[in-house]
Symmetry: D2
């Protein structure tokens, strides 16, 4: 619980002897944020110890959990990750890697996982590669990470991405690749480009910073308006705002200052914490805003709460006009693969017309990047409607996998397990 730096200090190396280590920093979208739900999760299986952590969400974990509990499995946590552990434990296969493949073939959803046994470091991505996982090298040692920026910070060299549907096995003898699924076209989550990845990361060979700057270019081209200053909602809106300024010729200004030591809005684990975090996260820079026609650029609009507060703050600081621009298309469908967006009924663009949004946000104008504009910014001239290059269901409704738990949601309720208590 808390920030990484509060728990892992300088003596990490001495406290954790061994040939390899895995760690995890998860905004728990399934399972309440309790001590029980901290990853990696470990078990002593018949072949030895096995630890696993994953990024993403399984879309059939509740159904699998029901079946496993009915067969006598005892769960330590409420995390979907633990399902993987039990499937490995119960597999009839004799070799560990066969058991792992057996387990992965039963789960649905989007995931990038890392695992550790006494001799093997494992990395795996789901069949369509929804969540990212990259391989780096530091001297002779291999490193797995979600983003390339993590490699840069420790001075490791980028090798390649783990491919969709690939399992990599790292041992003293080097790295080995296993294909456990029939070949499919990759469809990584488009939100890595829009919001998740850091601007200094490279995804599929593309600089996130440059992609976002191009989103700003395309956004300016699609939603131009006369104004005095282009102001980003920091930090995530900065590259798109710089792009907007470049394409429009309107000067760029840091009209909003981020209050440090308050985390990303998305990262606060409870709803109460989220409200509090919003209110203290940004301060207006009156010198940039007062008397000005302001184009405000954010990466996306989800529930609309943050946008409303920021618009109001900018107006109170004296802005004459406020034009809000979202560097991504309207979000009209929920995600089930690891983004905490909750129900469709909470998505601002899903439940309001354009006019209602303008009125509720109290802006002079509102513009979104189009889906083609988004694809072009990433470097894909045309979206392949039959098999989209990215998982863009939040904008388009095209979900790339089955949603087992979601479909059984109603009938499920009555069979719900008793809940584990908070610790």
């Amino acid at each position: 619980m808390g920030l990484v730096g509060e728990h892992f200090g300088g003596d990490l190396r001495t406290r954790l002897p061994g040939f390899a280590a895995i760690g995890h920093n998860r905004y728990s979208t399934q399972g309440r944020p309790t001590l029980r739900n901290i990853q990696p999760i470990f078990a002593d299986l018949s072949f030895g110890g096995f630890a696993v952590a994953h990024n993403g969400n399984l879309t059939n974990s509740r159904q699998l959990r029901h079946e496993l509990v009915r067969e006598g499995a005892i769960f330590q946590s409420t995390m979907d990750t633990e399902v993987i552990l039990h499937l490995v434990a119960r597999s009839a296969k004799p070799r560990f890697l066969d058991r792992l493949v057996d387990a992965l073939q039963q789960i649905e959803g989007g995931y990038a996982l890392v695992g550790l046994t006494g001799k093997k470091l494992i990395g795996a991505r789901d069949p369509i590669g929804l969540r990212p996982l990259v391989i780096g090298k530091l001297g002779e040692a291999y490193v797995l990470a979600s983003e390339t920026c993590a490699l840069d910070i420790i001075g490791a060299e980028f090798v390649r991405e783990v491919e969709n549907g690939e399992i990599v096995v790292i041992t003293d003898d080097g790295i080995e690749s296993i294909r456990a699924f029939p070949p499919r076209t990759a469809s990584p989550c488009v939100f890595e480009y829009v919001y998740f990845a850091r601007p200094d990361s490279v995804v599929q060979g593309r600089s996130i910073y440059e992609v976002r700057r191009r989103m700003g270019h395309n956004l300016a081209a699609e939603t131009m308006v006369e104004a005095d200053v282009v102001v980003p909602v920091p930090d995530s809106g900065v590259p798109a705002a710089l792009g907007y300024s470049e394409a429009s010729g309107i000067p760029f200004g840091m009209g909003i200052i981020r209050n440090h030591y308050v985390g990303r809005t998305f990262i606060q684990p409870t709803n109460v914490g989220r409200q509090a975090a919003i209110s203290k996260k940004h301060s207006p820079n009156r010198a940039v805003l007062e008397g000005k026609r302001v184009i405000l650029v954010d990466d996306s609009i989800v529930r609309g709460n943050t946008s409303k507060k920021i618009v109001q703050m900018v107006r109170e600081a004296g802005a004459k006009e406020v034009h809000l621009r979202s560097a991504s298309p309207p979000i009209v469908n929920p995600d089930f693969y690891g983004i905490d967006m909750a129900a469709k009924s909470e998505l601002f663009a899903a439940i309001h017309t354009h006019e209602e949004m303008v009125r509720e946000l109290k802006v002079d104008s509102l513009g979104f990047l189009s889906v083609p504009g988004l694809y072009k910014a990433i470097g894909e001239p045309v979206r392949n409607g039959m098999q989209p290059q990215f998982a863009d269901h939040c904008f388009t409704g095209d979900y790339p996998t089955a949603l087992v738990d979601h479909q059984h949601d109603e009938s499920d309720k009555e069979q719900q397990l008793s809940l584990l208590d908070d610790v």
Copy 2:
């Protein structure tokens, strides 16, 4: 970890809503003393939540654990208690109580357990009643406890003991009794009389204090010697020393003072802690010892370390003679049902002749209560050699149950599971 009072304060009632509660204070004789191994242990099973805690040791838990892990069970702890949880979880029976019976029929050893579901409070004793469990009543509420003194402290009324092989089920409708095993003669552990139970407890209708006083009477009759003062090793040796003084006419004196705020020697969980605890636990009362012929009365002699230190301390305080008396017979066999006595090779009386013991302890004489003397003190005129009234294997070698894990000890080693890490 630590003392009960450090964890359970005055707001216990408000922190623990619900119709019933179970707790546990265990000197972990199996499984290292870590956070993972704190009882009760809980699981979310297919019929709902189930928590369990037990006093005693299972003698086939390692074998059962091996089998369960081979079938895919994932253990959270290294405690034998968790085996029970998994056996309940995997039982093919549909009703919870049938599953519990199913589980209990597979385990061997000595245990008194308490369990809790959303609606039932459970108590159970093993088929021969090795470990104690009593039923009390406080107003309309039933209470389960290991000893009657616990009932006295909270003002509850003693109802009866749970019988050997009995399962009691307490619900809103009252108490119900289940017999899961073929009838057998009870054979409770004789060490409750010798050491474990508190002097103000009543076991099988007998006052522990009176039994121990009679042990002192019989000990005096069997091992009389001329002396000036009878000195107990406090606190557990006090009743037997008072009995010895009464029967011998030699005055009683508190020649050893116990240093409070240092726990029972037996209770410190590591070997290092145990040594340190011994050295600070007792102080000599020179006024009682100096220039005197001292009869020192202790409840038992296990490893001999405590006795050596105390004899030396008494001598250094000026005693002219030291005659050590044990209010129980020589301990020559290890226990496997919940008393932490480790291997036979560590038992003082098992590896030394009487003369060696006298020499090592540096005493003027050494005397033990006889097995018949012990039985008589408890109120049994004769020990039934074919079916002893008590589990007295430590003195006699007659083990009342199979010792599965112990017999497979050697071959087991190579199949040993990797160990869970300390937390």
Copy 3:
């Protein structure tokens, strides 16, 4: 805050380098029990660092504190000990020891203090030696302690008591003695014999255990009654009860069992804690009490609350008669030198007649040791009425020193300083 063992573990030596150390375990009778009031208290004075801790109470500390604050002194705590530190800091004398003498000559009350500078370990007792302080030796090193039992526990040899009005200064060159006050007859607190000292300690050459046994002898002679068993209130009543049994011929029995891991009633720092502690501290041993005429022996009766609860408990355990005996005289006057007895209006014997006490306690008879009986037990045939051998004001009203703060209590109220907050 809390028990010594919780704070000082095995690495004490490595954490505290230096040539000497002082420590303190105080039941704060002045100043609320907060972190600020933990002793020793340290200051960086013009000649270097000085730390001090003391046992006892100053009777003019409030007046001195007022004066010091009026002159600009800033206090860190609410303890009377800090007054000593400020008097040393402000003394006009150039040498440290002269400053210390200067300070001690200004304070009134009963104290035994230990102090530490970069080169000197100091011990001092007030002019009449109210509170105890002994010198021991461990190898070449000197040790100061309140009681001889502390020397025994660490294996140090008793050298002598620090005398009343003496200051001892221990340096690398050995021990030196300073006399800062005109010679006076010692008048140590009689409560060391009655209650404070441990039974294995030796005070003024007398074994506390033997003195208390003789109190029991004299108590039996003065307050004999027919009965079946003599039962101590453990642990402090045990020696007197053994003496009572010896003198009366009535058998001794442990009819009350002390529940360990609950501290001395006196030690719980708040009134609420004190009530709770009483209720869980003792359990009845029915086998000894049921159907019996019981003589209950306690060391003293202060507020009467504990006695009432114990008598009731003994009756509920089936005692036919209860005869309560106090091994000290009736306490009819408050103490101001370090015993937390609060106001006269709370002292049971001060506000009730003998008949009222019998009725309130619900006993069949009540007896106190007489003042002559107490003196005789200690070894003084006759109390010197002009200059009593002991500070016995609680029994007799003869206070051995001026009570400055107490006399100004009323007028003081309006000049009361604002209170420091709890930490």
Copy 4:
């Protein structure tokens, strides 16, 4: 110790009843960072409780402390702030405000202090107003803060700055102003403009963001070079880099990404922590840097360590040329008023020629803003050499106050007090 948010949660209001509160967040430049040295510091004085906290450094505190200790004062901390408390405590004046004035007239240096008594909230600035302090209003309540951005975050309205040499006293009756010093021209620290203040703060009526942008304009005019991109060292270098880009026409790019959850380099309290913090604080954004001629803009260069690391990082990310620009003049003299710059021997520009700096930093060119350029950016056309408008001694050597402690530094050493231990 630690971040504000870790200690002050949502229940602050209920935990701190009272009419007013003061708090402090200090990077301790005097006195080691220990629990003892946490501000505010409180004392119970003869007129009641008084708490005080201050920003800045006293330049004669060591001398005053020596004198006070010699007169018998006992210090709780090693902070210079405590000197103020003792001077107030010892003042001969009868009224509190007179005592405070008395104390302030004895201290030298730069400070902004807040104080609290039972009825008064106090704010004070040193005679030349070195450190900032502003007054705000939230409803009927007055607020004191170092910067206007703190008022914005809580929604308070800016009223005015506390003036140099002014003491403001806030009570239930409103605000009152006291002038304790002869009138002097203000000379606030120029580093508020350069580095300390947040970009959204307003100091002396000037927007910090705009001042820094103009520093960038002037820096470009003074140190122009051909390049492909202007990259700020975030976050403090951003406004000047935007200004540089505007004035030069060279595009702005976020070539360095700040790793959040690692604090300001300056804020880590030990040297070891500072090194570690630097190495993880920034990441290169290769897409912006690779193959480019980069102008790197930072607010200032102090020790040169951070600059060296950043230049190296930018080169390793593929920059073809690196031109380093400092938005402030070379720092060639130490500060003694609250900026932790240590000795002259550690100041990069003080101990190196321009050529050496270029070589050590491994840059293609190096440029600093001139002192006139700095004054113009702030809005002062000409620096008044006789009485500079700002305390700019770090650049010019013109110290605005006496430096008592500094001058006595050598002879002082031998009279040094023993040090208080870390807690």
